[in-house]
Symmetry: C2
Subunit: 222 residues, 2 copies
């Protein structure tokens, strides 16, 4: 196999590991308890979306929410990675959206069902260009924001995270080995809100980059 | 990139999509309602395990269960695949185990949390050799069994599935696009039970193949 380009991790990376409720103010806005350990769930790589293609509102959801998040791109795999060396496993970052069918997620939560339909549908993981590690010297102190139709909805700093990037890498790799090209979504600050067809999302990370996505309704098969 | 060998799908396939409660008798034994639509969840590809390596009992679980399942290996990707052409997307099959930390799953269900820790840990997806499509003319009529230390625990026919293989392919691909190398786990018949360190699992699919796995306790980091 030819060498894989980490700057295009979404084309070949094999997993997207997401952390929920990692900002206290967001946990509160959804009326969830502040977690004592990370809440971990998965999206499939088929959820990846790049600028230029629209985010689909799933046919089965009437309450699609945006969550802007710092994504951590793994450069070197490992199992049971200590916090002290966790940052050596990071190749870089990406600005990411964790698109969430909140109505379906609430239903799953109340029925004790997995979150896959709420979190794993096609286009549920829009990602920016790859950001080399050097551009973000401290992933625990970076500003993220998201606007819907030009209006700011989310604006926060990763300094508000409950569990740090090294902590998450260590915690996850204790039971799910990390591989080159994996992506970890680190949670969202408060301000999540519903979006619909024709809305325009713009998100940014400090002065590093911005990205734009339009929303369209998923077409039914017939 | 050189051509990928579908007979080694676990080395490069990007997702494992699992269906829960797809046999009425198993749904009943866990006191779950018979589902009216498939219960779908994910394992990461890091969960794959091959014969010769042991299944790990996660440090955090005291109630690890076996679930023997027919796995469907996707040969041709697609989105919103109709049932009528679904079988054209199948390259073959594998005998699979959906190893489940039942205690953690029950906790997740009661707290409305995702199932990832219960279902997605390393070694939670042991798989057999690839079975070419021709060897199983009707995936809706094949016998599966599993023994623990020589004693039969599970024995059932895929004819007892609530949702058929073509139905599942169509249902899943409506919201999660399928790709070459993906694996779909189709659910387990009744008889799931707890296993521990030193137990030996043997599973088989009709007269096609058998596979064996030992259990060891996950080592703590220190
Ligand atoms: Mg899940
Ligand atoms: Mg999120
Ligand atoms: Mg199962």
């Amino acid at each position: 196999m030819t060498a894989r380009n980490i700057a295009r991790f979404w084309e070949w990376g094999r997993k997207i590991i997401c952390v929920g409720r990692n900002y206290a103010d967001h946990a509160k806005e959804l009326k969830n308890a502040i977690p004592t350990e990370p809440v971990v769930f998965l999206k499939p790589p088929s959820a990846y979306l790049r600028e230029g293609s629209p985010i689909l509102v799933p046919l089965y959801s009437n309450d699609l929410h945006h969550e802007v998040e710092l994504g951590v791109v793994i450069g070197k795999g490992g199992t049971a990675i200590p916090q002290s060396t966790a940052m050596e496993h990071v190749a870089g970052y990406a600005l990411c959206l964790d698109m969430t069918a909140r109505d379906i997620q609430e239903e799953c939560k109340s029925k004790g069902l997995p979150w896959t339909m709420a979190k794993g549908f096609n286009t549920s993981c829009p990602v920016s260009d790859f950001i080399p590690k050097e551009r973000i010297p401290d992933p625990g102190n970076v500003q993220l924001w998201l606007k819907v139709n030009g209006k700011v909805r989310q604006s926060g700093s990763t300094s508000q995270m409950i569990f740090s990037v090294p902590y998450l890498i260590s915690y996850i790799s204790d039971f799910i080995s990390l591989e080159e090209g994996d992506l970890i979504l680190t949670g969202t600050p408060k301000g999540v809100s519903a979006v619909q067809e024709h809305d325009e999302l713009q998100a940014g990370i400090q002065d590093i980059l911005t990205m734009n996505f339009k929303l369209v309704k998923q077409k039914s098969r017939i």
